[in-house]
């Protein structure tokens, strides 16, 4: 293949009698009309995906750069310097957090205790109560206008059960070891 010379792009390199300057339509209009009207065929669906599944694509440039930097740091030993700085950097917030927990341990424990014993059960009961009172506003289409006592009780029981199970789950996972 000959390279494309940017200097000559768009310029007529050949003399005006050269037939290569003619367009296909000028050379033989009738044959050209027949051939130019031929449809382009399309391969079957998913052709693109079938091809791409067999093509190896390089990683994006940023990923290659990260890998190159990582390799350079490993080779020069700079990686240990960076890891040390990162470890020191993460020690500071950890130390601050630990000192805060140590200073306010009893308050935190009491807060968690209150949340599980009073806060969440009250919220659950309140939600069921509110739902029963405002049933006419929030009832889905086709539901009865007014809840009977057994229906309200079963709805409230459902809400309380749901929230209680969430509460117990949270309690199991969130309670600090000292309070358990």
């Amino acid at each position: 293949m000959k390279p494309v010379d940017p200097e000559t792009v768009g310029k007529n390199e050949m003399n005006e009698h050269d037939e290569t300057l003619l367009t296909p339509a000028d050379e033989d209009p009738v044959i050209h009309r027949h051939l130019a009207a031929l449809p382009a065929f399309t391969p079957a669906t998913l052709f693109e995906d079938r091809v791409l599944s067999r093509v190896w694509m390089p990683d994006p440039e940023w990923a290659r750069n990260v890998r190159a930097v990582g390799r350079e740091w490993t080779d020069t030993g700079r990686i240990w310097l960076v890891l040390g700085a990162l470890a020191l950097g993460s020690l500071i917030p950890a130390a601050v957090g630990a000192s805060l927990v140590g200073a306010f341990a009893s308050e935190i424990a009491a807060g968690i205790e209150w949340l599980f014993d009073v806060g969440l059960p009250t919220a659950a009961a309140g939600m069921a109560n509110e739902l029963a009172v405002r049933w006419s506003e929030v009832a889905p289409h086709g539901a009865p206008d007014r809840l009977t006592t057994p229906q309200a009780a079963s709805l409230a029981a459902g809400c309380v059960t749901l929230l209680a199970s969430c509460t117990l789950g949270l309690r199991a996972t969130m309670r600090p070891g000292g309070v358990r």
Partner: protein, 200 residues
């Protein structure tokens, strides 16, 4: 401008540069640009839809896996058409070698053996794919193209269907410019003769 709009308006060289950077959308853009012309060229050369799909797939896999070897001073279209045309010509040569005699295999000496190795032309049911091919390639001009010699066929398709310049066709087919002109001239003459009264 969105990235997809930028891709659609970029030159082939720019799209290739993005593809080399691992941008999948650039690979899809190259496929979108060339799947129809490449498939059409191969299909008109080998005249078998299923085989053309395989050859087109091979062409793209070869080209897209070798993008790092592509040199931007060359036209991308010339490169991909060259590979597609070579795939089609190789296939036609292979098919020529594989063609069995209608009168039986070369080693068939007895009537039984001749019967066993001969091709039974009429007993093969036409598949939906065959029907599709007959419909797609059945027009007078498509049939006339099918009767051309493969090298004439490649030249005339690239010139009149794909609108390629003579020197680009010469690059793609690895033929001297004069030979390309001669082939196109002869192909047109054969097409004129084949089309006869249908021409005007």
């Amino acid at each position: 401008m969105t990235f997809s709009a930028a891709l659609a308006s970029a030159t082939d060289q720019e799209v290739v540069a993005w593809a080399r950077d691992g941008v999948e959308a650039a690979y899809r853009e190259l496929l979108r640009r060339y799947e129809r012309p490449v498939f059409s060229l191969i299909y008109r050369m080998v005249r078998d839809r299923e085989l053309s799909e395989d050859l087109t797939q091979e062409t793209f896999v070869k080209v897209l896996n070798a993008l790092d070897r592509y040199r931007p001073e060359f036209k991308f279209s010339s490169w991909i058409f060259k590979i597609a045309n070579n795939a089609a010509i190789d296939q036609l040569r292979r098919r020529e070698l594989d063609t069995l005699s209608l009168d039986g295999g070369p080693d068939a000496t007895t009537p039984d053996r001749i019967g066993a190795t001969s091709l039974q032309v009429g007993d093969v049911a036409e598949s939906p794919l065959d029907e599709l091919e007959a419909r797609e390639l059945g027009s007078a001009i498509e049939r006339a193209i099918g009767h051309l010699r493969p090298e004439y066929r490649a030249c005339i398709i690239m010139r009149h269907v794909e609108g390629r310049a003579y020197d680009e066709i010469s690059d793609i087919l690895d033929l001297p410019l004069g030979t390309v002109k001669t082939y196109i001239h002869r192909a047109r003459a054969e097409l004129r003769e084949a089309l006869g009264p249908l021409r005007e």
